[in-house]
């Protein structure tokens, strides 16, 4: 059957077996492999994507059920090749160790922040409670989300007070001062 939806802003029409899961459509048919499969039964959150702006688990959603939907995956949130503040914060603050839960974590956090620009720690934890990470103990993940919020707050605030944002970020980071290293992408260019 034909399933049509928008993925990361691009309209897609796929000929799919009706039993095809959204995760299979993304990973195998569209080769968008950033969305991960950690469990295949909705227990880990690694496959979190946004369906019409809401977080959804692609491993237990039929692709056909998403006909007409607007789907966003981890590959679709950077703008002009620049990673979002959330993605950069996960890199900087240690929120990504092995990285396998990271796309799902980032998408779940993005869904929260898109609707709530000033969440409490409890709200962040609730929003990420369906996403399992086996590396970090979640401490640096929470710090990553807070750092992204601090960066957004800093950008929105008076540009003449950059130190306040840096201080806020430092507070958010707890005992870890914010890393100084530049984005090292060029090392792998």
């Amino acid at each position: 059957m034909i399933t049509a939806f928008t993925v990361n802003g691009q309209p897609r029409r796929l000929e799919l077996d009706p039993a095809t899961l959204l995760l299979e459509a993304l990973r195998e048919h569209l080769r968008l492999t950033g969305t991960k499969c950690g469990c295949d039964d909705s227990s880990c959150g690694a496959c979190t994507v946004l369906v019409n702006g809401q977080p959804a688990l692609a491993c237990t959603l039929l692709a056909a059920g998403c006909d007409g939907a607007d789907i966003t995956t981890i590959e679709g949130i950077a703008t002009d090749g620049r990673l979002t503040a959330l993605q950069r914060a996960f890199g900087r603050m240690g929120g990504a160790q092995c990285g396998f839960c990271t796309p799902g974590m980032v998408m779940a956090a993005k869904a929260l922040l898109d609707g709530n620009p000033d969440p409490s720690d409890g709200e962040i934890q609730a929003a990420l409670s369906g996403n399992i990470c086996r590396c970090t103990g979640y401490v640096q993940i929470l710090a990553s989300v807070r750092a992204a919020l601090a960066e957004a707050a800093g950008a929105a605030a008076d540009a003449a007070r950059p130190k306040a944002a840096a201080d806020a970020q430092r507070r958010a980071a707890g005992p870890t001062p914010p890393p100084q290293a530049a984005e090292p992408q060029s090392a792998h260019g």
């Binding site: 195998e28 080769r31 492999t33 950033g34 969305t35 991960k36 499969c37 950690g38 469990c39 295949d40 039964d41 227990s43 880990c44 690694a46 995956t73 981890i74 590959e75 990673l83 993605q87 950069r88 996960f90 890199g91 900087r92 240690g94 990504a96 160790q97 092995c98 990285g99 396998f100 839960c101 990271t102 796309p103 980032v106 934890q125 609730a126 409670s129 996403n131 399992i132 086996r134 590396c135 970090t136 103990g137 979640y138 401490v139 640096q140 993940i141 929470l142 005992p175 870890t176 001062p177 914010p178 890393p179 100084q180 290293a181 984005e183 090292p184 992408q185 060029s186 090392a187 792998h188």
Partner: protein
């Protein structure tokens, strides 16, 4: 290779909080893990697992499966009959079992099909004729099994291995101890549950060579095993490790799918990918074994530990794997963190009809450390000592050798302990209870009786414990003379400058292309090994981090490294990387010394430049060009590392496991409360200090320490491999296995202690495992402080807590009724088993129980 005074340039990189060099690949979703790979013509494999725990395989009929459209072939044990195993003495398993299934989940056959769905649909069409055999799931019962119940013919009574170590005279020392505690501890099996399920893609090349991409921590061991089972030379096989989504030991020996994919690709004449389902990951296991520990510790009245005796039984499951190594670790580190002159340890590794165990974070040491540190808490109470003070009185005095021959040079344990004692407010919050006055009559309700009476349902308690771990094994499992790590650092001739550009002399900028490439066989699995080597090389060559590219874990182009296990990579590959960078620097300096007519020792690499003693300066790229021999395309610095002989331990049987060039140390305080109505334990905070030698990258070290603490917390509170009476794993899923979510996870505050190991790269040693073990006893001890119950079996679930609370309530006032250490109650009320507290004149020697 000693730590050295740092230059300013090195200081800007070493010790600076540094984002992982591969972070953008992870956060963007662009990085490829094995299951993200696809090659043209790729087929998919799905493995048929045994539904019986122990059965002879009489025949496999794949006819109906082969008839399903889209199925290409079915392979069985006959297609890969060569046994393998990570240890030379333990080559007892086949990728697909040819004759016997030994646990529910054992690997019988593999369907290769055009899609994973077709392969899965074909699995139930395979007919296997089994002849059931008696199965054993309890290690002590397995040791008494008749021959028909032996899993392997060459292992009578299902004993894989046993060792008996005696150092000093523990019996005599215990006889003169003022206090002796004796208990039995039961630690159920736990598993890694790395977020990335194992995956392997295998492809035969037109020239007959084999390429394997696999989610492995040990590409080198996989390489060797593929050569053995497929009967090919290693040179014909290329092993590539893509990004790996966590290991924790679960990918540190060869897993069946890694061999099956290659055998299937050969048979099918097409590339084959196999990805485990989450359920299969649980059945593959290779995690921490169930361990029964009978432990006895005795101390003098002043708290000096005189002796420890332990009898350890590990339930290894169906195959050997790392078994004897896991077992030996449970003894080798038992008496090696404190100064204990008399140690007896008897260890048994037993085979049962359950998934095979293996290495898991804190390999072999965790369950013994839990028992010992929990017992120290009892001993402290019996002696009227503060538990932190008891530990203080037994510190090692390095440099030294432990009684079992482990060399200790750096030892940050004292500072770790003081750090968490101060940060947690330990003295203020425990003063007047443990430190001041132990109850004159131990009534089994602990020293906080008055507090409890006033706040019956939500009592907070503090507990302290310590742990340690190796910075890599000093002895490789397969070859005593192996070089443990080799790293190349290469600098290529610069490309011709664009028109008008200078050909040298300008400083390198961050925007410049990588100036050097690090070629390393290490396996980045999320712990940061690529970043660590980039930092070390950048620091040694005075380059910005962005000027260093890391190329890792492709056997066709990178040199051999033993892999990511036993926390060896920073110490061993870090030293090799440092030596490789220094080798490159010496080549550059030798050439420029001739040109500048100076001492090569006077030439420095700094700020992207190479500087002479009299103001000479060249950009790094120009210096490389100047140093290139005629016709050469690049310079290559080579560095190797193998542990020094002095660090390789003694020469008794089993002495090879435990020795390490350096040891990390950790001390932790846990704050918990116990809901006495529900039995729920809540951990409010963990303070964790870890001696990592030097934190090359504090973000990574804190991440490793917190992650280790958290994984130990899972074992302490919720995680357990639960089996039915028929040997079926009852909880093969992330929810049922109860991996803690963010809502279950308390704040963990990490403190870095830097003891500057004299042989570590820039002083660094282990950070990724050593903190795991302390958290379990810290929580157990805090539970006792909160509720007066001793728990001898993690996880400390509400049912176990309630049972212990009920036992406490039922215990007679003397508290002595619950002291039968050998009766193995699952939980027992306080006080500890063993003799009563010493009288001032000294209690008669007594072995407790």
């Amino acid at each position: 290779m000693a730590s050295r005074p740092q230059s300013d340039a090195a200081r800007a990189i070493i010790g600076a909080p540094t984002a992982m060099v591969d972070a953008p690949r992870k956060t963007s979703g662009a990085g490829a893990y094995t299951d993200d790979l696809a090659v043209p013509g790729m087929l998919h494999g799905k493995i048929l697992h045994s539904h019986l725990p122990h059965a002879r395989i009489r025949g496999v009929d794949a006819g109906a499966a082969l008839a399903l459209p889209g199925v290409r072939c079915v392979i069985t044990g006959a297609d890969a009959p060569t046994a393998y195993g990570v240890l030379p003495i333990g080559k007892d398993e086949c990728a697909l079992q040819p004759d016997k299934a030994r646990y529910i989940g054992d690997n019988i056959a593999c369907v290769v099909a055009e899609s994973e769905r077709i392969a899965a649909a074909a699995l139930p069409l395979i007919r296997v004729e089994y002849e059931p055999l008696p199965a054993y799931f309890d290690p002590e019962a397995a040791m008494a099994a008749p021959a028909a119940g032996w899993l392997h013919d060459h292992r009578p009574r299902n004993i894989e291995k046993e060792y008996h170590h005696v150092f000093g005279d523990p019996d005599a020392a215990l006889a003169r101890a003022a206090a002796v505690c004796r208990n039995r501890y039961v630690c159920p099996a736990v598993t890694h549950a790395a977020m990335e399920p194992h995956a392997t893609l295998a492809r035969f090349e037109p020239d007959g060579g084999l390429t394997v991409w696999s989610s492995t921590q040990v590409p080198y061991y996989l390489h060797k095993t593929l050569a053995r089972v497929l009967q090919m030379s290693m040179e014909r096989i290329r092993v590539i490790k893509p990004m790996v989504g966590g290991g924790f030991g679960g990918k540190s020996e060869v897993c069946p799918l890694e061999i099956v994919a290659a055998v299937a690709a050969r048979r099918a004449g097409a590339p084959v990918k196999i990805t485990y389902s989450r359920e299969e990951v649980f059945y593959t296991h290779r995690g921490r074994p169930l361990q029964l520990t009978e432990l006895e510790t005795g101390a003098a009245a002043d708290g000096t530990i005189l002796a420890v005796r332990a009898r350890v039984i590990q339930d290894g499951g169906a195959y050997c794997g790392y078994g004897p190594v896991t077992l030996l670790y449970s003894g080798a580190l038992l008496g090696a963190m404190y100064d204990i002159p008399n140690v007896r340890w008897d260890g048994y590794r037993v085979l049962t009809n359950k998934p095979a165990c293996g290495a898991m974070r804190g390999h072999g040491t965790v369950n013994t450390r839990f028992a010992f540190e929990a017992q120290l808490d009892e001993l402290a109470e019996r002696l009227g000592l503060d538990p932190a003070e008891l530990r203080r009185r037994n510190f090692l005095q390095p440099p030294c050798r432990t009684v079992n021959g482990l060399r200790v040079l750096s030892y940050g344990l004292p500072e770790c302990l003081e750090t968490v004692v101060a940060a947690s407010g330990w003295r203020e919050r425990r003063t007047g209870r443990a430190a001041g006055a132990p109850p004159a009559v131990n009534d089994g309700r602990g020293p906080r009786r008055a507090d409890r009476a006033s706040a019956p349902s939500r009592r907070h308690g503090l507990g302290v414990a310590c742990s340690h771990y190796v910075s890599g094994a000093a002895n490789a499992v397969d070859r005593a003379d192996a070089i443990h790590s080799t790293v190349y650092v290469e600098a290529a001739a610069p490309l011709p400058a664009p028109a008008g550009g200078a050909s040298g002399g300008g400083a390198a900028s961050d925007a410049a292309p990588p100036a050097v490439a690090v070629l390393t066989g290490t396996a980045e699995i999320g712990q940061g090994s690529d970043t660590m080597q980039a930092q070390i090389v950048a620091a040694a060559l005075g380059l910005p981090l962005a000027a260093v590219a890391v190329i890792a874990a492709d056997s066709a182009i990178t040199p051999m490294d033993l892999g990511s296990y036993s926390s060896r990579v920073t110490f061993m590959a870090g030293n090799a990387a440092l030596r490789a960078a220094e080798d490159l620097k010496q080549q550059i300096a030798a050439a420029l010394a001739r040109r500048w007519n100076c001492d090569p020792e006077a030439i420095r690499c700094l700020g992207g430049q190479v500087l002479g003693p009299s103001g000479q300066a060249l950009s790094f790229a120009a210096a490389v060009a100047a140093a290139l021999p005629p016709g050469a395309a690049h310079l290559r610095g080579v560095g190797t590392y193998s542990p020094p002989r002095e660090a390789q331990g003694g020469d008794f049987k089993g002495a090879g496991v435990g020795p390490s060039p350096a040891y990390s140390y950790s001390a932790q305080v846990a704050e918990v409360s116990v809901d006495e109505d529900s039995g729920q334990v809540t951990v409010h905070k963990i303070w964790a200090a870890h001696d990592c030698g030097r934190a090359l990258n504090p973000v990574a070290v804190e991440g490793q320490v917190i992650g280790s603490v958290w994984m130990g917390l899972g074992q302490a509170l919720s995680e357990e491999m639960a089996y039915t009476r028929s040997g079926q794993l009852a909880n093969p899923g992330l929810l049922d296995y109860r991996v803690p979510t963010i809502l279950d996870s308390p704040p963990v505050e990490a403190f870095i202690v830097e003891s500057l190991d004299p042989e570590g790269p820039f002083g660094a040693k282990e950070a990724g495992e050593g903190s795991l073990a302390a958290v379990i006893p810290a929580i157990a001890n805090a539970i006792y402080d909160a509720a007066g119950i001793r728990l001898y079996q993690p996880p400390f679930t509400p049912d176990r807590v309630l049972r212990a609370l009920q036992a406490r309530a039922a215990a007679p006032a003397s508290g002595q009724a619950a002291t039968a250490g050998q009766d193995q109650p699952e939980t027992k009320p306080g006080p500890a088993s063993g003799p009563p507290p010493p009288s001032p004149a000294g209690a008669p020697p007594q072995a407790g129980g």
